[in-house]
């Protein structure tokens, strides 16, 4: 589904990604872990197409298309979704209208008729259950005055509405208490299928107790330095990131 080869990127003059390789197949959940500043969020942003980052090398193939050549909105319409670490507050744009616009833009791209008001409402009601988000929140301005948990639930709700093929969750667990974390994880798990895939970016292992990954990768200093199964996450939790750093330093000496 997504095949990344030797991906390099920088922001301004600072090299952040220094050659990432990653292969994600339908039905898989991959977790990217790593200490602060290792490049996790940069990878998420680069895949979603944030303009501030400049790709300096490598390639990313998404469903047979060159992902890096696409505008952010086209990536979304092709089925990529980024759940933001910091969802943006946009006063004056109603959440419902925004989601309706997004859903219908995607349908237009797929050659489908736009959903009428009744169909849209019906779909919305279904998906609202998933993340236990209520109507009053959705009639407010987008993320404006939402609590941290409400913002993250709103991200997952949007994901449910847009039904992406590949969803990237950028530190979706940050700022969540345990109940909110469960709700969010539960939403994600219900959306898992053999046809879609997830890339879960996280600093802590605890999210992975709820969203169980097929593969875990450790990102350090702009590169994936270890890959393994979910046991790797537990090992990291136990030993901390320092053991990876120590191993790497031992190897270079």
């Amino acid at each position: 589904m997504l095949k990344i080869e030797n991906l390099q990127a920088r922001i301004e003059e600072k090299e952040i990604l220094k050659g990432i390789n990653l292969d994600i197949k339908p039905g898989e959940v991959h977790a990217i872990m790593g200490p602060n500043g290792s490049g996790k969020s940069t990878l998420a942003s680069v895949l979603a197409g944030r303009e501030a980052y400049e790709v300096t090398g490598g390639s990313a193939d998404f469903l047979g298309k060159d992902l890096l050549e696409m505008a952010p909105e086209d990536r979304a319409k092709e089925g990529l979704f980024l759940a933001f670490q910091y969802p943006v507050e946009i006063p004056g744009v109603s959440t419902t209208n925004f989601i309706k616009t997004a859903v219908n833009e995607k349908r237009k791209y797929q050659g489908l008729e736009p959903l009428d008001a009744a169909q849209f409402l019906k779909t919305m009601k279904e998906k609202m259950q998933l993340v236990q988000i209520n109507q009053s929140l959705l009639s407010r301005s987008l993320n404006e005055g939402f609590s941290g948990g409400e913002k993250k639930r709103n991200e997952i709700f949007q994901m449910a509405m847009l039904e992406p093929k590949l969803a990237i969750l950028d530190e979706t667990d940050s700022g969540l208490d345990i109940d909110a974390l469960r709700i969010v994880a539960n939403g994600v798990n219900q959306l898992r299928s053999k046809d879609n895939a997830f890339l879960v970016v996280t600093h802590y292992q605890r999210l992975l107790d709820y969203i169980v990954p097929d593969f875990v990768h450790v990102l350090y200093n702009g590169k994936i330095v270890r890959s393994g199964t979910k046991e790797l996450a537990l090992e990291l939790e136990e030993k901390g990131y320092d053991f990876i750093k120590a191993e790497l330093e031992a190897a270079t000496v």
Partner: protein
């Protein structure tokens, strides 16, 4: 300015001005004495106003032959055409106007008539008060043609149900049209009224409308005033909206500018009674080479008043937005709360915004705040929308509309708000 037509139009209107003739004569002399402000005049430094007062302007002392059919075609739907007050070329046209509110609630008559009947004392006292704040030839020139104006009153304790909509027509079919409407409004104690002013140019030549509207609000009156400018790129405007709070009351003004060549709006809130409240909102959505200059004055004279001001601008292409917000807090105006904010989004590379707060505070126990911003569209917000599949142009329209909606929401009347929103959405190519 050497304009023979202006001179002869003045002679014509002066001959029939009756009780307003000395007022007009005085203003004509002041115009002669003060002349038009030059760029070096501090209040006019961004606006080359002399260039729009041209020698070849067509001036008349009566309306021209725009047929009722043409006029009515431009009436807004529903309640917005129930109390329709029509000006053509700056002259009030009773025969083209229609007032459906009963005369026990709303009085509308020629200003020259009001100056000679039982309202003579009121007219004498209040007409021309704005000149204390605008001692310039532009205000005076309008005063010299006051007899073509209208007098409007909301009666004591009455709520005028349908908005009073003032339609300003300029007939620019055969040349540069110069119009000078004059309006005096009296909101009696505990009355409530909504006033909308809108401007329509007929024909393809240029125009200049030089307007003065003075509104007086008595104790417990509620006045909601909206000025909506969308006359096209060949129209110029110099207007003063002068609102006096004679008793403790609540006044509310929204000024929306969507097009024009050179547009200058003066808005004055003269707060003469304690415990009053005033709100001033503005939105300018500029493109092409439009220059829109909003100069506002809040004059806090008595204690315990609140004034709140928010102007927003979206400035595209080579257009220019100017905001100047003056706040006086006089010595007696203790416990004044005065807020002011001006926010601009620049879109065009050659667009510019000039913003200046001006606070003159003579009382010591007051709360005043002011702030201004000039920036671009928020890149983070834009990316967030695009990351959900919303195309760039649509995402921008969504954000700009959201920026403007703050001001739209301040229009209390639903029909007026819907109409303004429709114009703004069309301009931004925004659709829900």
């Amino acid at each position: 300015m050497e304009n023979n037509m202006l001179n002869s139009a003045f002679q014509t209107i002066q001959a029939e001005a009756g009780h307003l003739s000395s007022f007009q004569q005085q203003n004509w002399s002041s115009f002669d004495q003060w002349g038009l402000p030059a760029l070096k005049h501090e209040e006019w430094k961004y606006t080359r106003i002399r260039t729009v007062f041209r020698d070849d302007m067509q001036v008349v002392a009566e309306g021209t032959g725009l047929t009722p059919a043409i006029i009515q075609q431009h009436f807004l739907p529903g309640e917005l055409s129930k109390n329709a007050i029509v000006f053509v070329n700056g002259m009030y046209q009773p025969s083209l106007s229609r007032v459906s509110a009963p005369s026990t609630e709303l009085v509308v008559k020629a200003l020259s008539a009001a100056a000679g009947d039982e309202d003579a004392a009121f007219v004498k006292q209040h007409l021309g008060h704005s000149q204390q704040y605008h001692r310039d030839g532009i205000n005076a020139l309008n005063g010299a043609f006051a007899a073509g104006g209208v007098f409007i009153r909301a009666k004591k304790g009455k709520q005028v149900q349908d908005p009073v909509v003032i339609y300003h027509f300029s007939d620019a079919q055969s040349g540069f049209r110069f119009s000078q409407p004059r309006i005096l409004v009296h909101a009696e104690a505990a009355s409530e009224m909504q006033v909308l002013e809108t401007y329509i140019k007929i024909g393809n030549e240029e125009s200049l409308t030089n307007e003065v509207i003075e509104l007086c609000a008595e104790t417990d009156a509620h006045v909601h005033y909206v000025k909506l400018q969308n006359e096209g790129t060949r129209s110029n405007h110099t207007g003063t909206t002068h609102i006096r709070q004679l008793g403790r009351c609540n006044t509310h003004a929204v000024t929306i500018t969507l097009s024009g060549n050179v547009v200058r709006n003066n808005l004055n809130m003269i707060m003469e009674a304690a415990n009053s409240e005033s709100h001033m909102y503005g939105l300018y959505l500029l493109n092409g080479k439009t220059l829109a200059d909003n100069h506002t004055i809040v004059d806090n004279q008595m204690p315990n008043c609140l004034s709140n001001e928010l102007y927003k601008g979206i400035v595209d292409d080579q257009s220019t937005g100017v905001f100047n917000g003056k706040i006086f807090v006089r010595q007696d105006a203790q416990k004044t709360n005065a807020y002011q904010s001006n926010k601009n989004i620049l879109i065009g590379e050659q667009a510019s915004a000039n913003t200046k707060p001006q606070l003159e505070i003579f009382a010591d126990d007051v709360k005043c705040s002011h702030g201004c911003t000039v920036g671009k569209l928020d890149e983070n917000a834009l990316f967030y929308l695009k990351a959900r599949g919303i195309p760039d142009d649509k995402a921008k329209a969504l954000l700009l509309h959201a920026f403007a909606v703050d001001i739209l929401d301040q229009i209390k009347n639903e029909s007026i708000r819907a109409y303004a929103d429709q114009l703004i959405s069309a301009r931004l190519s925004y659709s829900e």
